[in-house]
Structures are given as C-alpha cells and as structure tokens.
Symmetry: C2
Subunit: 185 residues, 2 copies
DNA sequence: ACGGTAAAGCTAAGTACATTAGCTTTACGG
DNA sequence: CCGTAAAGCTAATGTACTTAGCTTTACCGT
C-alpha cells in the first residue's frame, strides 16, 4: 500500500475544495478523506479533528480574503479605496459563497485565527488611512464598512433579496451611505 | 404508558427552547425528544423530519420577529419609525441570538415560509410609508435597512466586534447613514 | 548498504444521530 | 362497548466522528 503523502496543508486544501463544491455544511471528515484517497481516521495524523479542521479552513479563507482585498485597494486611497474595498468584499462573497460561509465572524477571539484576522483588519484600516480619522473614529468607520458589506453580501449569497430590483443599485446606495458618514474628500 | 399529548406546535415549542438554551447547532431530534419526554422516532408522527422541523422553527421565529417589530413601529412614522425599527432589529438579535440564527435569510423562496416572510417585509415597508417613495425606491431603502441591521446585529451576536469602542455609537452612525439616503423629513 | 524508528497509514470498535419499519396501545366516536 | 386511527414504542440501518491499537513505509545515521 503506497503512501498518500498527505500533510496538514493538503488536508485543508481538500477541505476547501469540498466546501467550494458542495457547501459549508458538506464539510465532513469522510468527504475530505475520500477526496484525499485515505481512510477517515488517517486524517487524524494531520488534523486534531473536525473542529480543528474548521478552524484551519477558516484561517485559510481569511488569508485568502485579505490577499484579495489587498489587491483591490493597492494604489488607491480615500473614497476610491473605500469604494473598491466594498466592491471587492461583495465580489469575493459572490465568487466563493460557501467559502465565505466557512469564515469565522470573530477571528480576533481565537489565537489560531488572530493573525489572519489581523491582516484583514489592517487592509480595512489602510483603506481609511487617507481620511486622517482619530483611532477611535477609524474603528467606527471600519465597523460600518464591515457591517454593510457583510450584511449585504451574506443576504445576497443566501438568496435573501427576492425581488427583481437591481442589486447593484441597492449596493451603490449603501456605499454612498457609508461614504456619507466619512469626512469630505 | 400514558400518552404525551404532543402536537406539531408543541414539538416546535420544544425546538425553540432547545435552540434558545443551547444554540442553533444543538437542534437535534434527540434533544427535542428528550425535552418532550418521548422517544426520538415518535417525533415523526408530528414532523416529517429534522429538515421540516427546521423550516417550521424558522417560520415561527419570523412570525415572532414580525410581531416584535410591529410593536416597535406602531404609532410611529418617518424617521422615528425607521430609527425604532433599526433599534428593534438589533435588540431582538441581542435578546435571542440563537433564535435569530435559526431564521432563514430567504423566506420568500420557500412556500412554507412566504407568509411569515411577507409579514416581516410589510412591517419594513410600513415604516417607510411616510416617505412616499416610489415602489422601487421603497424596495431599495428596505434592503438598505435590512442589510445594515442584519450585518451589524449578526456580527455583534457572533462576537465579531473585538475592540472596546462603544457599539451603540457605531450603530447610531450606521442608522444616520441609512437615514441620509432617505429624503429629508 | 542497512537497521532502527517515528510518522503515516490501516482496521476495528464505540458513540451519537436521523431515519424507516413494524408493532402495541391508547383514546375516542359510533 | 367495540373498532379504528393516531400516538407511542422497540428494533434495525446508515452515516459520521472519534479512539485504540496494529502494520508498514520511508528516512536517518552509521
């Protein structure tokens, strides 16, 4: 019996693929084992259990989001950066809805997720840098952006907008509302 | 062996209690059966399975929300109604976080949930009535309110705001942003 | 080249849950 | 007071997570 050559990273890779293809609820050790060509208990050599796998996957997704958002904001500042970040957030969720659903909402509370969560927060704070807000005002502004982006994107991904009105228009209106709370620029 | 006198309603009642006490993930037929003093398979006499129980519970929560929001908006109009509704949304989620997590995001897509979902939407539309918006603008405004309220409240309930800045202040800022997109009043 | 060893894999077994099948008993209506 | 439909039960099956303990591979040092 030849060896599969698995690793923790490879297991998380497989988990990500399972989630992308079949949804966040479909993440089971059995599915990951099948995809990696290994018996279920063998996964325990690389991962402590389903709980840890979820955490690792969450961390992976947060890193992926941070990278994606960084690309969107790079070379932009002020209103341009805020707009671009808001659009990137929505686009990410639309491209990878299941993956997003696997991302934790409270990364800062778990040491295993704090690093990835911190990167994400830095991107948001960076997008607000040009406004020269006080530290506290920056936090409030970042929260507003996240609440709006998360709220809209998760509703959109969850099929929460049943009516046929144009969703781009609604989101533009929301972005304008957020920009309205920021100083002129 | 005396009879338990169960009914579909009583089963949903028990499910709601289980969720309130132990979280949305803890909703299992086994837990509901124990709480109602019945063997697990007996629940199938009142409910088609775990899936249907989830739907019924979701419907129940939506009705509860609609009633709660109606109380908050009653006798108010315009900005006052919008503010009150936004605060009620947040308060509901804070009071019953697990229950809210059990509510579906897309009630209009499921015939079994459309009635409860419709009531909820009517409350929101009613809060906007005084603005005399076009039907389409009303939809966009209602979506903005929901996205903001849902985004903020689910992040708050999920522990998503790690920093110590005042959350009431952030939410006031968000409400002001939403009100800013509506005509003067 | 080769032997020892740690890691990577396996099977077997235990727990929990959802679900189906089929039986028993209750409670109620005629 | 009996017949029957509904409400409950036990038993059994399938899936998933997890632990225990065994086997084998692959590599490292000599």
């Amino acid at each position: 019996m030849p060896r599969a050559g698995l690793s923790t990273t490879a297991v998380v890779d497989a988990a990500l693929a399972v989630v992308d293809e079949h949804g966040a609820e479909a993440l089971t050790l059995a599915a990951v084992a099948q995809r990696t060509g290994v018996a279920t208990p063998s996964l325990y050599k690389h991962v402590a259990g389903l709980g840890e796998l979820r955490t690792l996957l969450g961390s992976r997704v947060l890193e992926d989001m941070a990278e994606y958002f960084t690309r969107a904001v790079l070379g932009r500042g002020g209103e341009d950066a805020v707009r671009s970040l808001m659009h990137a957030y929505r686009a990410y969720v639309k491209e990878h809805p299941a993956r997003y659903a696997a991302a934790p909402l409270d990364p800062l509370h778990d040491p295993a997720l704090a690093s990835a969560g911190g990167k994400l927060m830095e991107v948001v704070l960076g997008a607000l840098r040009a406004y020269d807000l006080s530290p506290s005002d920056t936090i409030h502004a970042a929260r507003c952006m996240r609440a709006v982006a998360h709220g809209f994107a998760s509703l959109e991904a969850g099929g929460g907008f049943g009516l046929p009105e144009d969703l781009d228009h609604t989101y533009d209106q929301l972005i304008a509302a957020v920009l309205g709370t920021l100083p002129r620029h």
